[in-house]
Amino acid sequence: MEASSPLPSLRGVRDLLDSGEGTSVGIVNEALERADALDEALGAFTGMRAEGALEDAAAADARRAAGRTLSPLDGVPVAIKDNMVMEGEPTSCASRILEGFVSPYTSTVVERLRSRGAVIVGRTNLDEFAMGSSTEHSCFRPTSNPWDLDRAPGGSSGGSAVAVASRIVPAALGSDTGGSIRQPASHCGVVGMKPTYGRVSRWGLVAFASSLDQIGVFTRDAGDAALLLEAIAGHDPADSTSLREPVPRFSEELTGDISDLVIGLPREYFLDEGVDPGVLAAVRDGVSVLERAGAKVREVSLPHTRFAVATYYLIATAEASSNLARYDGVRYGRRAASATDLSQMYFLSRSEGFGEEVKRRIMLGTYVLSAGYYDAYYRKAQQVRALVLDDFQKAFDECDVIATPTCPETAFRLGEKTGDPLSMYLGDIYTVSANLAGIPGISVPCGMAGGLPAGLQLLGGPLQEATLLRAADVFQRLTSHHTAVPTAI
Protein backbone atom coordinates (compact mmCIF):
# COMPACT_ATOMS: atom_id res chain seq x y z
CA MET A 1 0.00 0.00 0.00
CA GLU A 2 1.00 3.62 -0.50
CA ALA A 3 3.27 5.07 2.10
CA SER A 4 1.64 7.20 4.75
CA SER A 5 2.70 7.79 8.32
CA PRO A 6 0.88 6.17 11.21
CA LEU A 7 -0.50 8.74 13.63
CA PRO A 8 0.72 8.73 17.25
CA SER A 9 -1.67 8.11 20.15
CA LEU A 10 -3.87 10.91 21.50
CA ARG A 11 -1.34 11.91 24.15
CA GLY A 12 1.39 11.45 21.54
CA VAL A 13 -0.33 14.01 19.30
CA ARG A 14 -0.87 16.33 22.26
CA ASP A 15 2.85 16.12 23.12
CA LEU A 16 3.83 16.97 19.53
CA LEU A 17 1.53 19.98 19.62
CA ASP A 18 2.65 21.06 23.11
CA SER A 19 6.34 20.84 22.22
CA GLY A 20 5.86 22.67 18.93
CA GLU A 21 7.23 19.71 16.96
CA GLY A 22 3.93 19.41 15.15
CA THR A 23 0.98 21.58 14.16
CA SER A 24 -2.65 20.60 14.12
CA VAL A 25 -2.83 21.40 10.41
CA GLY A 26 0.13 19.11 9.77
CA ILE A 27 -1.28 16.26 11.87
CA VAL A 28 -4.79 16.56 10.46
CA ASN A 29 -3.28 16.50 6.99
CA GLU A 30 -1.42 13.32 7.87
CA ALA A 31 -4.66 11.74 9.10
CA LEU A 32 -6.43 12.72 5.87
CA GLU A 33 -3.56 11.42 3.74
CA ARG A 34 -3.46 8.15 5.63
CA ALA A 35 -7.22 7.71 5.24
CA ASP A 36 -6.77 8.41 1.55
CA ALA A 37 -4.01 5.81 1.23
CA LEU A 38 -5.62 3.04 3.27
CA ASP A 39 -9.35 3.41 3.10
CA GLU A 40 -9.91 1.83 -0.28
CA ALA A 41 -8.72 -1.42 1.30
CA LEU A 42 -10.34 -0.86 4.72
CA GLY A 43 -13.64 0.90 4.15
CA ALA A 44 -13.48 2.44 7.63
CA PHE A 45 -14.95 5.80 6.61
CA THR A 46 -18.27 6.80 5.07
CA GLY A 47 -17.06 10.33 4.49
CA MET A 48 -14.15 12.65 5.30
CA ARG A 49 -14.55 16.23 6.44
CA ALA A 50 -11.32 17.48 4.89
CA GLU A 51 -12.04 21.16 4.36
CA GLY A 52 -13.83 21.75 7.66
CA ALA A 53 -11.21 19.76 9.57
CA LEU A 54 -8.33 21.79 8.12
CA GLU A 55 -10.13 25.03 9.02
CA ASP A 56 -10.66 23.77 12.56
CA ALA A 57 -7.02 22.70 12.73
CA ALA A 58 -5.82 26.12 11.62
CA ALA A 59 -7.99 27.70 14.32
CA ALA A 60 -6.49 25.31 16.89
CA ASP A 61 -2.96 26.28 15.81
CA ALA A 62 -3.89 29.97 16.09
CA ARG A 63 -5.27 29.44 19.62
CA ARG A 64 -2.12 27.63 20.62
CA ALA A 65 0.08 30.40 19.22
CA ALA A 66 -1.93 32.89 21.26
CA GLY A 67 -1.55 30.79 24.42
CA ARG A 68 -5.27 29.99 24.56
CA THR A 69 -5.26 26.22 24.14
CA LEU A 70 -8.68 24.84 25.15
CA SER A 71 -7.87 21.34 26.44
CA PRO A 72 -5.58 18.34 25.90
CA LEU A 73 -7.77 17.55 22.87
CA ASP A 74 -7.19 20.93 21.21
CA GLY A 75 -6.08 20.29 17.64
CA VAL A 76 -6.30 16.49 17.91
CA PRO A 77 -8.03 14.65 15.03
CA VAL A 78 -11.01 12.50 16.09
CA ALA A 79 -13.43 10.43 13.99
CA ILE A 80 -17.11 9.94 14.83
CA LYS A 81 -19.38 7.02 14.05
CA ASP A 82 -21.78 7.97 11.28
CA ASN A 83 -24.81 7.89 13.58
CA MET A 84 -23.94 11.07 15.52
CA VAL A 85 -25.09 14.29 13.94
CA MET A 86 -23.17 17.47 13.26
CA GLU A 87 -24.81 20.59 11.82
CA GLY A 88 -24.21 21.00 8.10
CA GLU A 89 -22.71 17.52 7.73
CA PRO A 90 -24.34 14.37 6.35
CA THR A 91 -25.38 11.55 8.69
CA SER A 92 -26.07 8.26 6.94
CA CYS A 93 -26.26 5.53 9.60
CA ALA A 94 -24.98 3.47 6.62
CA SER A 95 -28.59 3.32 5.42
CA ARG A 96 -30.06 4.13 2.01
CA ILE A 97 -33.07 5.56 3.81
CA LEU A 98 -30.98 8.53 5.03
CA GLU A 99 -29.50 9.23 1.60
CA GLY A 100 -28.88 12.95 1.23
CA PHE A 101 -29.64 13.79 4.88
CA VAL A 102 -27.70 16.78 6.19
CA SER A 103 -28.17 17.49 9.88
CA PRO A 104 -29.73 20.80 10.97
CA TYR A 105 -28.24 20.44 14.48
CA THR A 106 -25.23 19.10 16.37
CA SER A 107 -25.10 16.21 18.85
CA THR A 108 -23.99 16.97 22.40
CA VAL A 109 -20.89 14.75 22.09
CA VAL A 110 -19.68 16.51 18.94
CA GLU A 111 -20.45 19.89 20.51
CA ARG A 112 -18.40 18.96 23.60
CA LEU A 113 -15.48 17.64 21.56
CA ARG A 114 -15.40 20.74 19.39
CA SER A 115 -15.73 23.13 22.33
CA ARG A 116 -12.54 21.50 23.66
CA GLY A 117 -10.80 21.97 20.33
CA ALA A 118 -10.94 18.42 18.94
CA VAL A 119 -10.99 18.31 15.14
CA ILE A 120 -13.66 16.05 13.60
CA VAL A 121 -11.96 14.58 10.52
CA GLY A 122 -14.54 12.11 9.28
CA ARG A 123 -17.48 9.79 9.81
CA THR A 124 -16.93 6.07 10.26
CA ASN A 125 -18.70 3.06 8.78
CA LEU A 126 -21.16 0.94 10.75
CA ASP A 127 -23.78 -1.74 10.43
CA GLU A 128 -26.94 -0.02 9.22
CA PHE A 129 -28.47 1.87 12.19
CA ALA A 130 -25.85 0.15 14.39
CA MET A 131 -27.61 -3.21 13.98
CA GLY A 132 -24.97 -5.86 13.58
CA SER A 133 -21.76 -7.33 14.91
CA SER A 134 -19.57 -7.18 11.81
CA THR A 135 -19.95 -3.84 9.92
CA GLU A 136 -21.00 -5.94 6.93
CA HIS A 137 -24.57 -4.62 7.03
CA SER A 138 -23.59 -1.19 5.69
CA CYS A 139 -25.29 0.20 2.58
CA PHE A 140 -21.89 1.43 1.40
CA ARG A 141 -19.55 -1.54 1.80
CA PRO A 142 -18.26 -3.89 4.50
CA THR A 143 -15.31 -2.69 6.57
CA SER A 144 -12.20 -4.91 6.60
CA ASN A 145 -10.11 -5.86 9.61
CA PRO A 146 -6.60 -4.36 9.38
CA TRP A 147 -5.15 -7.59 10.81
CA ASP A 148 -6.57 -9.62 7.93
CA LEU A 149 -8.48 -7.86 5.18
CA ASP A 150 -10.62 -10.96 4.55
CA ARG A 151 -12.00 -10.72 8.05
CA ALA A 152 -14.67 -8.50 9.60
CA PRO A 153 -13.62 -5.93 12.20
CA GLY A 154 -16.63 -6.69 14.37
CA GLY A 155 -19.38 -4.16 14.78
CA SER A 156 -21.40 -2.23 14.75
CA SER A 157 -18.78 0.49 15.36
CA GLY A 158 -16.31 -1.35 13.09
CA GLY A 159 -15.24 1.76 11.19
CA SER A 160 -14.22 3.59 14.37
CA ALA A 161 -12.28 0.55 15.65
CA VAL A 162 -10.45 0.18 12.33
CA ALA A 163 -9.68 3.90 12.04
CA VAL A 164 -7.95 3.79 15.45
CA ALA A 165 -6.28 0.38 14.96
CA SER A 166 -4.91 1.49 11.58
CA ARG A 167 -3.41 4.61 13.14
CA ILE A 168 -5.48 6.90 10.89
CA VAL A 169 -6.80 8.75 13.93
CA PRO A 170 -5.71 8.48 17.56
CA ALA A 171 -9.27 8.38 18.86
CA ALA A 172 -12.86 7.88 17.72
CA LEU A 173 -16.37 7.78 19.14
CA GLY A 174 -18.69 4.79 18.81
CA SER A 175 -22.01 3.67 20.22
CA ASP A 176 -22.63 0.46 22.15
CA THR A 177 -26.09 -1.09 22.39
CA GLY A 178 -25.06 -4.72 22.93
CA GLY A 179 -21.29 -4.63 22.57
CA SER A 180 -20.89 -2.45 19.48
CA ILE A 181 -17.84 -0.69 20.93
CA ARG A 182 -16.22 -3.46 23.00
CA GLN A 183 -16.52 -6.27 20.43
CA PRO A 184 -14.89 -4.42 17.48
CA ALA A 185 -12.26 -3.06 19.87
CA SER A 186 -11.47 -6.65 20.81
CA HIS A 187 -11.37 -7.84 17.19
CA CYS A 188 -9.13 -4.95 16.09
CA GLY A 189 -6.73 -4.80 19.06
CA VAL A 190 -7.67 -1.40 20.49
CA VAL A 191 -9.27 -0.09 23.69
CA GLY A 192 -13.04 0.41 23.55
CA MET A 193 -15.14 1.67 26.43
CA LYS A 194 -18.88 1.80 27.01
CA PRO A 195 -19.63 4.04 30.00
CA THR A 196 -22.55 3.66 32.42
CA TYR A 197 -25.94 4.15 30.75
CA GLY A 198 -26.70 7.87 31.02
CA ARG A 199 -23.10 8.94 31.63
CA VAL A 200 -22.79 10.41 28.11
CA SER A 201 -25.63 12.33 26.47
CA ARG A 202 -27.44 10.58 23.62
CA TRP A 203 -28.76 13.88 22.19
CA GLY A 204 -27.98 13.70 18.49
CA LEU A 205 -27.20 9.99 18.48
CA VAL A 206 -29.60 8.32 16.05
CA ALA A 207 -31.68 5.99 18.25
CA PHE A 208 -31.52 2.19 17.89
CA ALA A 209 -32.64 0.79 21.28
CA SER A 210 -33.05 3.71 23.61
CA SER A 211 -32.83 1.88 26.95
CA LEU A 212 -29.53 0.25 25.90
CA ASP A 213 -27.72 2.75 23.61
CA GLN A 214 -24.67 4.50 25.03
CA ILE A 215 -21.89 6.51 23.37
CA GLY A 216 -18.30 5.64 24.21
CA VAL A 217 -14.71 5.85 23.05
CA PHE A 218 -12.04 4.06 21.03
CA THR A 219 -8.37 4.76 21.70
CA ARG A 220 -5.13 2.82 21.83
CA ASP A 221 -4.80 2.91 25.60
CA ALA A 222 -6.71 3.59 28.80
CA GLY A 223 -4.93 6.89 29.42
CA ASP A 224 -6.26 8.26 26.14
CA ALA A 225 -9.71 6.81 26.82
CA ALA A 226 -9.77 8.69 30.14
CA LEU A 227 -9.02 12.01 28.42
CA LEU A 228 -11.63 11.49 25.72
CA LEU A 229 -14.32 10.26 28.12
CA GLU A 230 -13.92 13.18 30.53
CA ALA A 231 -14.45 15.51 27.58
CA ILE A 232 -17.78 14.00 26.50
CA ALA A 233 -19.33 12.79 29.79
CA GLY A 234 -21.71 14.72 32.02
CA HIS A 235 -25.29 15.80 32.46
CA ASP A 236 -27.13 17.24 29.49
CA PRO A 237 -30.57 18.82 29.89
CA ALA A 238 -31.36 17.83 26.29
CA ASP A 239 -31.28 14.10 27.19
CA SER A 240 -33.78 13.18 29.90
CA THR A 241 -31.90 9.93 30.58
CA SER A 242 -28.58 11.66 31.15
CA LEU A 243 -27.32 11.30 34.73
CA ARG A 244 -27.00 14.25 37.09
CA GLU A 245 -23.75 12.98 38.53
CA PRO A 246 -20.42 14.75 38.78
CA VAL A 247 -17.82 13.47 36.30
CA PRO A 248 -14.44 12.63 37.82
CA ARG A 249 -11.28 13.76 36.06
CA PHE A 250 -10.68 10.21 34.86
CA SER A 251 -7.17 11.00 33.67
CA GLU A 252 -6.19 11.96 37.22
CA GLU A 253 -7.49 8.69 38.66
CA LEU A 254 -4.88 6.53 36.90
CA THR A 255 -2.73 6.01 39.98
CA GLY A 256 -1.01 2.85 38.82
CA ASP A 257 -2.16 1.05 41.96
CA ILE A 258 -4.79 -1.69 41.99
CA SER A 259 -3.83 -3.39 45.25
CA ASP A 260 -7.20 -2.36 46.70
CA LEU A 261 -9.22 -4.15 44.00
CA VAL A 262 -10.93 -7.52 44.06
CA ILE A 263 -11.42 -8.94 40.57
CA GLY A 264 -14.30 -11.35 40.09
CA LEU A 265 -14.20 -14.07 37.46
CA PRO A 266 -17.75 -15.18 36.64
CA ARG A 267 -17.64 -18.94 36.27
CA GLU A 268 -20.28 -18.80 33.51
CA TYR A 269 -17.85 -16.81 31.31
CA PHE A 270 -14.95 -19.21 31.68
CA LEU A 271 -16.56 -22.44 30.55
CA ASP A 272 -14.24 -24.39 28.30
CA GLU A 273 -16.90 -24.96 25.69
CA GLY A 274 -18.03 -22.24 23.32
CA VAL A 275 -14.85 -20.18 23.72
CA ASP A 276 -11.81 -20.27 21.46
CA PRO A 277 -9.07 -21.87 23.61
CA GLY A 278 -6.53 -19.29 22.39
CA VAL A 279 -8.80 -16.44 23.49
CA LEU A 280 -9.40 -18.07 26.85
CA ALA A 281 -5.65 -18.52 27.40
CA ALA A 282 -4.95 -14.87 26.54
CA VAL A 283 -7.69 -13.69 28.90
CA ARG A 284 -6.43 -15.93 31.74
CA ASP A 285 -2.91 -14.54 31.18
CA GLY A 286 -4.43 -11.05 31.36
CA VAL A 287 -6.09 -11.79 34.68
CA SER A 288 -2.80 -13.08 36.09
CA VAL A 289 -1.12 -9.79 35.11
CA LEU A 290 -3.69 -7.94 37.24
CA GLU A 291 -3.15 -10.43 40.05
CA ARG A 292 0.62 -9.93 39.96
CA ALA A 293 -0.02 -6.18 40.12
CA GLY A 294 -1.67 -6.69 43.51
CA ALA A 295 -5.34 -7.25 42.79
CA LYS A 296 -7.10 -10.11 44.52
CA VAL A 297 -8.92 -12.56 42.27
CA ARG A 298 -11.97 -14.61 43.20
CA GLU A 299 -14.71 -16.53 41.48
CA VAL A 300 -18.18 -15.01 41.24
CA SER A 301 -21.39 -16.17 39.57
CA LEU A 302 -23.73 -14.52 37.09
CA PRO A 303 -26.27 -17.33 36.77
CA HIS A 304 -28.50 -15.73 34.13
CA THR A 305 -25.67 -15.26 31.63
CA ARG A 306 -26.94 -17.90 29.24
CA PHE A 307 -30.27 -16.10 28.91
CA ALA A 308 -28.74 -12.71 28.16
CA VAL A 309 -28.59 -12.96 24.36
CA ALA A 310 -32.24 -13.99 24.05
CA THR A 311 -33.28 -11.24 26.47
CA TYR A 312 -31.21 -8.68 24.63
CA TYR A 313 -32.50 -9.51 21.14
CA LEU A 314 -36.12 -9.31 22.30
CA ILE A 315 -35.72 -5.95 24.02
CA ALA A 316 -33.40 -4.39 21.43
CA THR A 317 -35.56 -5.35 18.44
CA ALA A 318 -38.75 -4.24 20.22
CA GLU A 319 -37.26 -0.81 20.89
CA ALA A 320 -35.80 -0.65 17.37
CA SER A 321 -39.11 -1.39 15.70
CA SER A 322 -40.60 1.59 17.56
CA ASN A 323 -37.65 3.91 16.98
CA LEU A 324 -37.45 3.17 13.28
CA ALA A 325 -41.11 3.97 12.72
CA ARG A 326 -39.95 7.55 12.16
CA TYR A 327 -38.46 6.67 8.75
CA ASP A 328 -41.58 7.17 6.74
CA GLY A 329 -40.46 9.22 3.74
CA VAL A 330 -42.11 12.39 5.07
CA ARG A 331 -39.68 14.51 7.07
CA TYR A 332 -36.27 13.36 5.93
CA GLY A 333 -34.50 10.72 3.97
CA ARG A 334 -35.61 8.72 1.03
CA ARG A 335 -39.10 8.74 -0.42
CA ALA A 336 -40.05 6.10 -2.98
CA ALA A 337 -40.50 7.84 -6.32
CA SER A 338 -43.27 5.57 -7.54
CA ALA A 339 -45.69 5.96 -4.62
CA THR A 340 -49.09 7.38 -5.55
CA ASP A 341 -50.77 7.47 -2.14
CA LEU A 342 -49.64 7.97 1.44
CA SER A 343 -49.87 4.37 2.57
CA GLN A 344 -47.94 3.14 -0.47
CA MET A 345 -45.36 5.85 0.18
CA TYR A 346 -44.69 4.45 3.66
CA PHE A 347 -44.45 0.86 2.45
CA LEU A 348 -42.26 1.54 -0.57
CA SER A 349 -39.99 4.12 1.06
CA ARG A 350 -39.25 1.81 3.98
CA SER A 351 -38.89 -1.35 1.89
CA GLU A 352 -36.51 0.31 -0.55
CA GLY A 353 -34.63 2.21 2.12
CA PHE A 354 -33.90 -0.42 4.79
CA GLY A 355 -31.42 -3.25 4.35
CA GLU A 356 -31.85 -6.91 5.17
CA GLU A 357 -30.72 -6.95 8.82
CA VAL A 358 -32.77 -3.86 9.70
CA LYS A 359 -35.89 -5.40 8.16
CA ARG A 360 -35.23 -8.61 10.07
CA ARG A 361 -35.03 -6.75 13.36
CA ILE A 362 -38.05 -4.55 12.68
CA MET A 363 -40.05 -7.68 11.90
CA LEU A 364 -38.87 -9.46 15.05
CA GLY A 365 -39.51 -6.38 17.19
CA THR A 366 -42.97 -5.84 15.72
CA TYR A 367 -43.78 -9.50 16.40
CA VAL A 368 -42.66 -9.53 20.03
CA LEU A 369 -44.61 -6.35 20.78
CA SER A 370 -47.78 -7.49 19.06
CA ALA A 371 -50.94 -8.29 21.02
CA GLY A 372 -50.97 -11.94 21.97
CA TYR A 373 -47.18 -12.29 22.05
CA TYR A 374 -46.26 -9.30 24.21
CA ASP A 375 -46.39 -11.16 27.54
CA ALA A 376 -44.65 -14.29 26.29
CA TYR A 377 -41.76 -12.44 24.71
CA TYR A 378 -41.34 -8.77 25.57
CA ARG A 379 -42.62 -8.83 29.14
CA LYS A 380 -40.75 -12.04 29.85
CA ALA A 381 -37.54 -10.47 28.53
CA GLN A 382 -38.07 -7.42 30.76
CA GLN A 383 -38.37 -9.73 33.75
CA VAL A 384 -35.21 -11.66 32.89
CA ARG A 385 -33.48 -8.32 32.40
CA ALA A 386 -34.26 -7.54 36.05
CA LEU A 387 -32.66 -10.87 37.03
CA VAL A 388 -29.53 -10.12 34.96
CA LEU A 389 -29.20 -6.80 36.81
CA ASP A 390 -29.74 -8.59 40.11
CA ASP A 391 -26.89 -11.02 39.23
CA PHE A 392 -24.51 -8.10 38.78
CA GLN A 393 -25.63 -6.35 41.98
CA LYS A 394 -24.89 -9.52 43.95
CA ALA A 395 -21.56 -10.09 42.21
CA PHE A 396 -20.44 -6.51 42.91
CA ASP A 397 -21.04 -7.14 46.61
CA GLU A 398 -18.13 -9.58 46.34
CA CYS A 399 -15.79 -7.81 43.93
CA ASP A 400 -14.97 -4.40 42.44
CA VAL A 401 -14.32 -5.39 38.85
CA ILE A 402 -15.51 -8.37 36.80
CA ALA A 403 -13.05 -9.74 34.23
CA THR A 404 -14.20 -11.79 31.23
CA PRO A 405 -13.31 -12.43 27.61
CA THR A 406 -14.86 -9.64 25.48
CA CYS A 407 -15.82 -12.17 22.80
CA PRO A 408 -15.80 -15.96 22.58
CA GLU A 409 -13.62 -15.82 19.47
CA THR A 410 -11.36 -13.63 17.36
CA ALA A 411 -12.42 -11.80 14.18
CA PHE A 412 -14.44 -14.01 11.83
CA ARG A 413 -14.27 -14.04 8.02
CA LEU A 414 -16.30 -11.58 5.97
CA GLY A 415 -19.46 -13.40 4.89
CA GLU A 416 -18.96 -16.21 7.40
CA LYS A 417 -22.03 -15.38 9.46
CA THR A 418 -24.21 -13.18 7.27
CA GLY A 419 -26.24 -16.22 6.15
CA ASP A 420 -26.95 -17.26 9.75
CA PRO A 421 -28.16 -14.30 11.81
CA LEU A 422 -28.60 -16.36 14.98
CA SER A 423 -24.95 -17.43 15.00
CA MET A 424 -23.96 -13.76 14.59
CA TYR A 425 -26.16 -12.84 17.58
CA LEU A 426 -24.67 -15.58 19.78
CA GLY A 427 -21.22 -14.01 19.43
CA ASP A 428 -22.52 -11.16 21.62
CA ILE A 429 -22.87 -13.45 24.65
CA TYR A 430 -20.24 -11.68 26.79
CA THR A 431 -21.11 -8.08 25.93
CA VAL A 432 -24.92 -7.75 25.98
CA SER A 433 -25.35 -8.21 29.74
CA ALA A 434 -23.59 -4.91 30.51
CA ASN A 435 -26.12 -3.07 28.34
CA LEU A 436 -29.06 -4.86 29.95
CA ALA A 437 -27.71 -3.85 33.38
CA GLY A 438 -26.57 -0.37 32.28
CA ILE A 439 -23.07 -0.86 33.73
CA PRO A 440 -19.75 0.33 32.25
CA GLY A 441 -17.34 -1.97 30.43
CA ILE A 442 -14.00 -1.70 28.72
CA SER A 443 -12.20 -4.04 26.31
CA VAL A 444 -8.40 -4.04 26.41
CA PRO A 445 -6.09 -5.92 24.00
CA CYS A 446 -4.70 -8.93 25.92
CA GLY A 447 -2.75 -10.88 23.33
CA MET A 448 -3.14 -12.82 20.13
CA ALA A 449 -4.93 -16.04 19.28
CA GLY A 450 -4.13 -17.51 15.87
CA GLY A 451 -2.53 -14.25 14.71
CA LEU A 452 -5.58 -12.14 15.63
CA PRO A 453 -6.16 -9.87 18.63
CA ALA A 454 -8.11 -11.02 21.69
CA GLY A 455 -9.76 -8.71 24.22
CA LEU A 456 -10.02 -8.72 28.01
CA GLN A 457 -13.29 -7.18 29.18
CA LEU A 458 -13.51 -5.43 32.54
CA LEU A 459 -16.97 -4.60 33.89
CA GLY A 460 -17.72 -2.34 36.84
CA GLY A 461 -20.66 -1.23 38.92
CA PRO A 462 -22.67 1.85 37.89
CA LEU A 463 -20.47 4.99 37.54
CA GLN A 464 -17.28 3.00 38.22
CA GLU A 465 -15.53 4.10 34.99
CA ALA A 466 -12.59 5.47 36.98
CA THR A 467 -11.95 2.05 38.54
CA LEU A 468 -12.11 0.31 35.16
CA LEU A 469 -9.76 2.83 33.56
CA ARG A 470 -7.33 2.52 36.48
CA ALA A 471 -7.25 -1.28 36.15
CA ALA A 472 -6.93 -1.13 32.35
CA ASP A 473 -4.14 1.44 32.66
CA VAL A 474 -2.21 -0.76 35.11
CA PHE A 475 -2.65 -3.70 32.73
CA GLN A 476 -1.27 -1.66 29.82
CA ARG A 477 1.68 -0.36 31.85
CA LEU A 478 2.67 -4.01 32.35
CA THR A 479 1.90 -5.34 28.85
CA SER A 480 2.61 -4.27 25.27
CA HIS A 481 -0.30 -5.88 23.39
CA HIS A 482 -1.77 -2.47 22.59
CA THR A 483 1.41 -1.39 20.80
CA ALA A 484 1.17 -4.17 18.18
CA VAL A 485 0.55 -2.71 14.73
CA PRO A 486 -1.95 -4.47 12.43
CA THR A 487 -0.17 -6.68 9.95
CA ALA A 488 -2.38 -6.34 6.86
CA ILE A 489 -1.82 -2.62 6.24
Binding site: R385, A386, L387
Partner: protein, 90 residues
Amino acid sequence: MAVLARLSLTDAEVERLSTELEAILDYVETLEEVDTTDVRPMSHVLPLATPLREDRAAAPLDPQAAVVNAPESAGSAFVVPRVIDGEEEG
Protein backbone atom coordinates in the same frame (compact mmCIF):
# COMPACT_ATOMS: atom_id res chain seq x y z
CA MET B 1 -46.64 -8.66 10.60
CA ALA B 2 -44.99 -6.90 7.66
CA VAL B 3 -48.12 -4.77 7.29
CA LEU B 4 -47.87 -3.63 10.91
CA ALA B 5 -44.24 -2.69 10.29
CA ARG B 6 -45.16 -0.92 7.03
CA LEU B 7 -42.79 -3.10 5.02
CA SER B 8 -43.67 -4.68 1.70
CA LEU B 9 -41.56 -7.79 1.32
CA THR B 10 -40.90 -9.83 -1.79
CA ASP B 11 -41.83 -13.51 -1.81
CA ALA B 12 -38.16 -14.41 -1.50
CA GLU B 13 -37.79 -12.08 1.50
CA VAL B 14 -40.87 -13.56 3.16
CA GLU B 15 -39.53 -17.07 2.70
CA ARG B 16 -36.08 -16.26 4.05
CA LEU B 17 -37.34 -14.16 6.96
CA SER B 18 -39.84 -16.83 8.01
CA THR B 19 -37.07 -19.42 8.34
CA GLU B 20 -34.71 -17.02 10.12
CA LEU B 21 -37.28 -15.60 12.50
CA GLU B 22 -38.51 -19.09 13.33
CA ALA B 23 -34.96 -20.10 14.33
CA ILE B 24 -34.55 -16.95 16.43
CA LEU B 25 -37.94 -17.41 18.14
CA ASP B 26 -37.09 -21.05 18.87
CA TYR B 27 -33.90 -19.87 20.50
CA VAL B 28 -35.50 -17.14 22.63
CA GLU B 29 -37.95 -19.69 23.96
CA THR B 30 -35.12 -20.80 26.28
CA LEU B 31 -36.36 -17.91 28.46
CA GLU B 32 -39.28 -20.13 29.45
CA GLU B 33 -36.82 -22.02 31.65
CA VAL B 34 -36.42 -18.95 33.86
CA ASP B 35 -38.76 -18.66 36.82
CA THR B 36 -39.97 -15.07 36.75
CA THR B 37 -42.79 -15.37 39.26
CA ASP B 38 -43.13 -12.05 41.09
CA VAL B 39 -40.28 -10.45 39.12
CA ARG B 40 -41.15 -6.89 38.15
CA PRO B 41 -40.54 -6.23 34.45
CA MET B 42 -37.70 -3.77 34.00
CA SER B 43 -38.09 -1.25 31.21
CA HIS B 44 -35.11 0.85 32.15
CA VAL B 45 -32.01 0.75 34.34
CA LEU B 46 -32.55 4.19 35.80
CA PRO B 47 -35.24 5.14 38.28
CA LEU B 48 -36.55 7.67 35.82
CA ALA B 49 -38.63 10.61 36.82
CA THR B 50 -39.79 13.07 34.22
CA PRO B 51 -37.31 15.90 34.50
CA LEU B 52 -38.82 19.34 34.71
CA ARG B 53 -37.21 22.50 33.51
CA GLU B 54 -37.98 26.11 34.08
CA ASP B 55 -40.76 27.42 31.92
CA ARG B 56 -38.60 29.68 29.85
CA ALA B 57 -38.76 30.16 26.10
CA ALA B 58 -35.81 28.86 24.08
CA ALA B 59 -35.18 29.22 20.38
CA PRO B 60 -36.66 26.21 18.56
CA LEU B 61 -35.23 24.75 15.37
CA ASP B 62 -35.91 27.19 12.55
CA PRO B 63 -38.91 25.85 10.56
CA GLN B 64 -37.01 26.33 7.29
CA ALA B 65 -34.12 24.24 8.65
CA ALA B 66 -36.57 21.61 9.86
CA VAL B 67 -37.97 20.96 6.38
CA VAL B 68 -34.72 21.19 4.47
CA ASN B 69 -34.27 17.39 4.50
CA ALA B 70 -37.83 16.64 3.45
CA PRO B 71 -38.20 14.87 0.10
CA GLU B 72 -40.91 17.45 -0.70
CA SER B 73 -41.81 20.64 1.14
CA ALA B 74 -43.66 23.90 0.63
CA GLY B 75 -42.72 26.87 2.78
CA SER B 76 -42.32 25.40 6.25
CA ALA B 77 -44.64 22.44 5.59
CA PHE B 78 -43.94 18.81 4.66
CA VAL B 79 -45.74 17.77 1.49
CA VAL B 80 -47.20 14.25 1.25
CA PRO B 81 -49.41 12.58 -1.33
CA ARG B 82 -53.06 13.60 -1.05
CA VAL B 83 -54.77 11.71 1.79
CA ILE B 84 -58.34 12.89 1.23
CA ASP B 85 -59.87 12.60 -2.19
CA GLY B 86 -60.60 16.12 -3.47
CA GLU B 87 -64.01 15.28 -4.93
CA GLU B 88 -65.30 14.01 -1.63
CA GLU B 89 -64.32 17.16 0.18
CA GLY B 90 -67.35 18.87 1.57
